[in-house]
Symmetry: D2
Subunit: 343 residues, 4 copies
């Protein structure tokens, strides 16, 4: 259930609504909005009596939320969520690019690529310090050393860092370096980790699990948001199907479905999605045309030598060509390509 | 294997090459091309001796084709296939729109929608006379009556007809009315039907089966082309996955994969693909951005009253809005929206 | 809707019920049953008035059928359908084995394997004369010659023939040789073919499509049964999933689901299902334990030399070992292994 | 790579082999076996020189392991792994039943069901204290209280406890109560958790992820085993496919595939697998016929009132009937139903 109140409601009216919610053993959530003040309610909502709320002062409307997910739904909040990362806006009419290598491989490697991306106006550098790998014998990332290099790159080059956390006990260390914390596909239903990152209040990039439905993705986002962390970016990255010509099946259908049902920004990762570098630009363009708020693109100065995922990684020239096409595409979709305005 | 010859090769040289192929118990296929004359070879090619061909007059190059599909592969023919339908070009830099209702429902219905689409410059009307339905008790189309209406619409309104054939014994009747014969997803591996439509020499729109791999789609196209019918348009229309939020999972990844591996045009049907009308425009835009050569869109003057598939069908206003966005998008992808140039 | 009548109802009462059904523009179907006479109704049943039937003489009960499929549902007929093939019963407490090579390869090959299977008491020989192949260049079967060999084997060795039809124009020729006509997975939704085989009144083995739901399989069976051909055997043969360790994912869950919802016998083809010969016996045992009424097993005297599907084919020794285990398993599941009682 | 040594090799010979391995920057793993002493090697094995090991004293054979997974593969250890849980053997010729409710709901509930199961000879009680739920608003289990009840049940009734861990910070508390720690499908690729449970040396029941390939399941087991914890039981519990008639698609094909490729025991959970209680017994029988070493069955004294998963839960009468059928089936598969021998 959702209580819509006048934006200028006096604090005591808001408090009265919250107390009433608590008296039903439910939890009130004040939801940031531009035109209305909304109080979301989670908990055993079947016992709530709608009429008791409609009579309270400053209450304008009481709405039942019919979806399983509540706080992340459009029913709760009709406006797009805009996330501010160090002054850069994500969501709304902004089209954001996160680029970089799969893994941090060395100090030199990450500085070189970060420098080149920064020159092209890219505001967000991706790069894994901790890598989730199917095999315990595969390269697992540089770990603490990788975080250290990312921290140095951030300070010296001035670029925002997007990096993944795999382990509850690393959250603090990762949160110190990351401007956006990535939660990978394999951990989409790792509820302990979801709750912990929810507590950090850092922006979270939540990737869809390989066989997660769109509803499950939104419910996982709900785990984070119910910790009062509204800064969640969803990310489609390909699902598992019978098709073997592509690494995964990038499911762009998720973009308009999520746009309709949630106020959170939705990004697309075509690199993992299709998994073949020369087809990444086509899927990146398609993602944006479908309404995506941003892209996650694997870029490396030397993809053939990448320690992981080289096959799906663009080199700088291909990435540049893609950026130029996106510049042309963005206005057709009423978006602004969010480049170069970071200082 | 593929023999490339000089475009101006004398007929006797071509004949010599073909005879040599036949002497190996294989079949020669003269493949239309702009820059080279190519002779494709199918059959028990493991016994072919490359050197025996390289020495023949006018032969420039002999290439092994490594894919399972041969005649439809880019290795056989590097240029895009352009299909001419009554003077309208499909493929290459053309972006073609096929629109119309799921089923022909009545004379009035099909005349009304055809008239409105023609006004908007649409050159191809889709509409099923025979409908493949999971249940024997569902509406199966108007059948012969439906074909008759389509034939009348074609003559009186002047619009090309795209309609499906389900049954070998209807091929002749359908081919008489259709400018493009559609082969539906359920029949993608109905090899008897593939071979029969191959013999008609009519352009064929071949839809991907619900669980067909991209390779299998190309192999099914090969069945048609090996009957010397090169006028095949492939069509992605959604595959079956675990996701239930959408009717199917429109697999746009197929577009760049097919563009790389085949010279045939590839269309996309976002109506069946995502299956929810208000999300069709987003997927139509995405399909074009991914490189699709055309779209198949379900449009009805009154979708709520459609006898089939109303839920995924655009009304005229939504369709018009989509066309306008496509006009903006086409030049970004170096395509020309192929509208209104049909007389 | 379903009308249950007394088994000894006079013909004129039955006729009155049928005429009443026809007066509603629906079609009556007399359904064979042991304890009751049932009249199924298909057509625009929403207009039927239940009370008008309840008042007719000899009518005992009127039941709404809630499933999309009608005639094949357990609601229509609660007893198992038993199919009689030249005196051999299929369904009920019988466990039937259909065995043989993927393809008829030569006169000698099919006579040798048929002889050996007959010695082991196998009553049904499978073998394809027409083979559906993804590639037009793969071995397509011996065609008419294959049918001829099967016809000879049948006469000389005395074994029932199960063989596939792919093409409407071959139905007559196939029906002349086959005791059970197989309809393959790729043609499960080839409705023209379903209707045509329905008209033959021959027993039909209908294989589940690679991505067909169980409901769709039952609806395809309904196409056949609505042609008054009740002799339909369903067959699970593996579905398409993301798993690549097995050729398909044999979906044994289909067995208890179908047993609950339909009166038709359900067979399992573990050879195509798992697709690796040394794992076929385990899945055959599992299929029977799950409640399957029969098995379709690929057996060859020399699997390594088979022209198709050798990798999933048992040799005679492995097949014999499996039969011996099935002999032990059958009584645990209250089935009788239907071997050797054919003369 | 794998070094096979004589069982009676002197310690110094073993040490020499291990030191040689370490000198190549790899890790030696002494693998328990009955007929040979085996030393597995993990790490950058591409640099190992086979000949250098073949010359060492007591070394009998040096084998390259070709699978991605090493320590869990049959190549490393050809005999079945037998796991001893408080004197009860799991694996080999034993057929083990783990039964109980989805969740611990109350002290009374868990005592009642445990008592009834114990009477039937069941040695292992399942019951979740921590429940992974898609929605943050669904019942998440009784948590610490649930563990406390399980601990009491264990002491008072004398039954082994199988319960799930979701959170790294709960491992210690769960390990204190659990005789077998369950790792759920959603956490199959939670590598941090895999490594932590590996360190406990407790038997681990590792469930296959909803879209995990069999290879990925074995690689996740490898994460645990590479922590020197060989007591891993694999568990098939259904995968995600397009089929909606069943909750999941129980993939019994995994049983013979895993038996061939790994020495670890493989269990099956038909309750989650098919997800409909009245079809659970058929799939349980099928699982055992396919070669499963054990079953995980949801049983509740009152399934309709279960707080979670009631729809897929057997009542005591149905469970008893299943046990009786399993008693008949076990000897057919050369297994012994492992009941009642626990004191």
């Amino acid at each position: 259930m959702l209580i819509l109140m006048n934006l200028n409601s006096p604090r005591e009216d808001i408090k009265e609504v919250k107390n009433k919610i608590i008296s039903f053993n439910c939890t009130p959530h004040e939801i940031p909005g531009a035109s209305k003040l909304a109080i979301g309610i989670t908990g055993p909502s079947e016992f709530l009596i709608k009429e008791e709320f409609q009579l309270l002062p400053s209450v304008e409307e009481v709405i039942r939320v019919t979806k399983k997910y509540k706080l992340v739904s459009r029913q709760m909040k009709s406006e797009d969520t805009i996330i501010d990362v160090n002054g850069i806006k994500i969501g709304g009419d902004q089209l954001t690019i996160i680029a970089g290598p799969c893994s941090v491989e060395s100090r030199d490697q990450i500085f070189e690529i970060a420098g080149r991306l920064k020159e092209m106006g890219v505001n967000f550098l991706r790069g894994g310090a901790y890598k989730p790998r199917s095999s315990p014998y595969a390269f697992q990332g540089l770990k603490e050393k990788g975080l250290e290099y990312l921290s140095d790159v951030k300070k010296e080059i001035g670029i925002n860092i997007v990096t993944e956390v795999l382990n509850q006990s690393h959250i603090e260390a990762v949160a110190e370096v990351a401007d956006i914390i990535q939660l990978g596909a394999r951990n989409m239903q790792n509820y302990a980790l979801l709750e912990e990152v929810g507590k950090t209040q850092k922006p979270i990039l939540l990737k869809r699990g390989m066989s997660a439905t769109i509803e499950e993705l939104l419910l996982s986002a709900e785990y984070i948001v119910s910790q009062q962390n509204y800064n969640v970016i969803l990310c489609e990255r390909g699902i598992r199907t019978f098709e073997t010509a592509t690494r995964n099946t990038l499911d762009l259908n998720a973009v308009p479905v999520i746009k309709k049902n949630s106020h959170l920004p939705i990004f697309v990762d075509p690199s993992h999605g299709i998994g073949i570098w020369d087809k990444v630009p086509a899927m990146a363009m398609a993602a944006v045309a479908a309404g995506s708020d941003g892209l996650l693109i694997e870029v490396h100065t030397n993809p053939e030598k990448a320690l992981s995922d080289g096959y799906q990684t663009l080199n700088l020239a291909s990435f540049k060509a893609l950026i130029e096409k996106l510049q042309e595409l963005a206005p057709v979709i009423n978006k602004k390509l969010n480049l170069g305005n970071y200082e």
